[in-house]
Amino acid sequence: MGALQYANLNEQAEAQGSIVAEPLLGTWWNTNAATRGIAKAVLAGETNGIVLRIFAAGSQQLVEWGETAASIFAADASAAEAMAFSAFYDFGFMETQLQGHVRQGLLIIAKFDRFKDDSGRSNYFSKEFFYRTEA
């Protein structure tokens, strides 16, 4: 095998193989109980990979977005434990790119929402914090 290609010096790393997903898995609740955004995120390991389910704030009850595949990421190219994920939802009238990472026991989820319905709403970025509950 030839020399490794890299885009920065961090990538001159010794390979570890597959990433262990467990540090990300579980049910994560928003630290802000009054959020009008994402109330709960559930990350689960399935046979086909990692699956994300989002429950958003609704006027009377949580709004389930359904399942979507999540890609997981380690802290660096030689790390073996997952600490971040990215996922994507397309609702037709809008799409949402989610990126989450764990820091000091909190899951920080950044949302990049893009509207496609000509409603005049701006595409926007937001960020929320989540704690994990026991399974």
């Binding site: 490794l4 955004g37 890609s71 990421f73 660096d76 609702f91 409603s119 595409n123």
Partner: protein, 232 residues
């Protein structure tokens, strides 16, 4: 049919067609969340494999079991109602769709001055606040029409590694009513890896998240990094 009412909250109709008078073509309504009420006197209404018969005085309460759902029925007059959004005869009334409460706004709250965002906060040369970083050292962003270009430099030895210029995929504000750009996403496609950049501008800093996925069979772990860059 006389009148209609809104009894269901938490649901947004995205599409409806009124085929009244043409019994061969089904009426259709699609909605994104919550439940809806449908009044369609005497007509059978199929919903995700089940058939129910709404009545004139009660309406059919249609639950939602997935991210979106669709109901079909044939013939007759009808009325559909959901989440404060009323619809009759296929005309959507004051509706913006959303999947979380924070995205629900009144139409009048939306500035009708075009959808383009002001880009003043994003262009420039941004340097990593960590001088010793072995990751992303510098990002140069520039306005290109209504878009943004991104040029990224990674740490190298002895020189920086120029990733080249890409167009930002999308530009974002920091709220749905704001017209001020505060973030962007962009992607780099290298032979050995894909790198997805997600940036937001916060308190004078550009916070840059990068997701690197290797595709060269090296078994290196896909990884996430987050850097803080200040304007030069």
């Amino acid at each position: 049919m006389s009148g209609y009412g809104c009894r269901r909250a938490g649901c947004q109709i995205s599409n409806a067609s009124n085929r009244d008078g043409d019994p061969e073509v089904p009426n259709e309504v699609t909605w994104f969340w919550g439940a809806i009420d449908i009044w369609a006197p005497g007509q059978s209404c199929a919903f995700e494999g089940r058939t129910s018969r709404p009545t004139t005085d009660q309406g059919l309460q249609m639950p939602r079991t997935s991210a979106s759902a669709r109901a079909l029925w044939r013939g007759g007059d009808y009325s559909v109602c959901a989440g404060g959004v009323g619809q009759k005869g296929g005309q959507i009334m004051e509706s913006v769709k959303c999947v979380k409460a924070e995205d629900r706004v009144e139409i009048s709250d939306i500035t009708q001055n075009g959808y383009a965002l002001r880009l003043d906060s994003l262009p420039g040369t941004w340097l990593n606040t960590d001088r010793g970083t072995r990751g992303i050292v510098k990002v140069v962003t520039a306005v290109n029409g209504s878009g943004l270009t991104v040029r990224t430099f990674g740490a190298g030895d002895p020189d920086l590694i120029d990733w080249g210029v890409v167009a930002a995929d999308y530009i974002y504000a920091n709220s749905l009513l704001s017209r001020e750009a505060a973030g962007f996403t962009a992607r780099y496609h290298f032979d050995f890896a894909e790198i997805h950049l997600q940036a937001n501008w916060n308190q004078g800093l550009l916070v840059l998240a990068s997701f690197t996925s290797f595709k060269d069979g090296s078994n290196r772990s896909d990884y996430f990094s987050r850097d803080f860059l200040r304007r030069n």
